[in-house]
Symmetry: C2
Subunit: 157 residues, 2 copies
DNA sequence: TATTGTTATACTCTATAACTATA
DNA sequence: TATAGTTATAGAGTATAACAATA
């Protein structure tokens, strides 16, 4: 007869559970490392999106990052109070703002890259360079296979 | 000179981001699959813990699963209303209850095992059996290396 | 005095709708 | 009529402290 009991310990041998467990742990750790800079994950995503393409409207940021436009207002408000972005007049659309990075934000960018580097080193500390490469490829295939948008985190929306 | 810009797209090549992205996606999917049965992740964890060792006290469940004792009250309340557990008198401690699975809960257990099987098949659909085995081993090593408790999800607490 | 379970409260977060000004 | 941004509000969820009964 088969064992019909799935215990808590057996979850540790299931890929979906391990991914969820590790993902939650890393997300919490990431948030903690970002907190001292005064940046939360949503603000982090906005700053990175602007570093890539500055002067986007709130609507463009909302669509790209999956953050609702209502929530985006608060994110930009906070970043503006922190003097990390400015709401400039949009060249093509008087309804919209061109959300623009300040010099202070550009100075801050290197510090934003540190947590993810540190996390990657820490979490893969027990792996060889080859194993890291294998893991990266497998995770990228899973992400693509699940239809997830590259670089867009489901929990931002 | 080095490229000082880390864009949103570059996150898709970072192991911590991919783990967090996949983990969040799978956790949401898992919750959705469980919802029609009327069970949320915390209730799921309690039912599995009781399937492994029935008659535990709320305190024992709290300690094992990382759920606060205050929150555990509501979880057990709901399960009791659903006639999935009973609060029986504890044989050794009159302060505590022996939380016990009902026959209805035991009938429900197989349905609780389905979502995680389905998720595992779905998420690893593009992988060979060998690749699945490699991925599983790597994830287990990451989880152990990070000091995570096997089978215990950080977000339950 | 510490433990088990419970309750109440305050706080955060989120989702929704409704509003303005522009297009 | 639709879009960009804003505001208000209600609901869910969470964290904390305080409480009664028992050890």
């Amino acid at each position: 007869m088969t064992d019909t009991t799935l215990g808590i310990a057996e979850l540790a041998a299931r890929i979906p559970f391990l991914l969820s467990q590790l993902g939650a742990y890393l997300a919490d750790d990431f948030e903690r490392r970002l907190a001292p800079i005064g940046v939360d994950p949503r603000a982090y995503a906005v700053l990175l999106a602007l570093a890539e393409c500055d002067g986007q409207s709130q609507r463009e940021l909302s669509t790209q990052l999956g953050i609702h436009r209502n929530a985006m207002v608060t994110v930009i408000d906070t970043l503006e109070h922190q003097r990390l972005v400015q709401r400039l007049t949009h060249p093509q659309n008087r309804r919209a703002f061109a959300v623009t990075l300040t010099d202070k934000a550009r100075d801050l960018l290197p510090a934003l890259y540190e947590p993810i580097d540190a996390l990657e080193d820490e979490i893969t500390a027990g792996l060889s360079a080859e194993e890291r490469a294998v893991l990266l490829k497998l995770l990228q295939r899973l992400s693509a296979g699940a239809g997830l948008i590259p670089g867009v985190h489901p929990r931002l929306g």
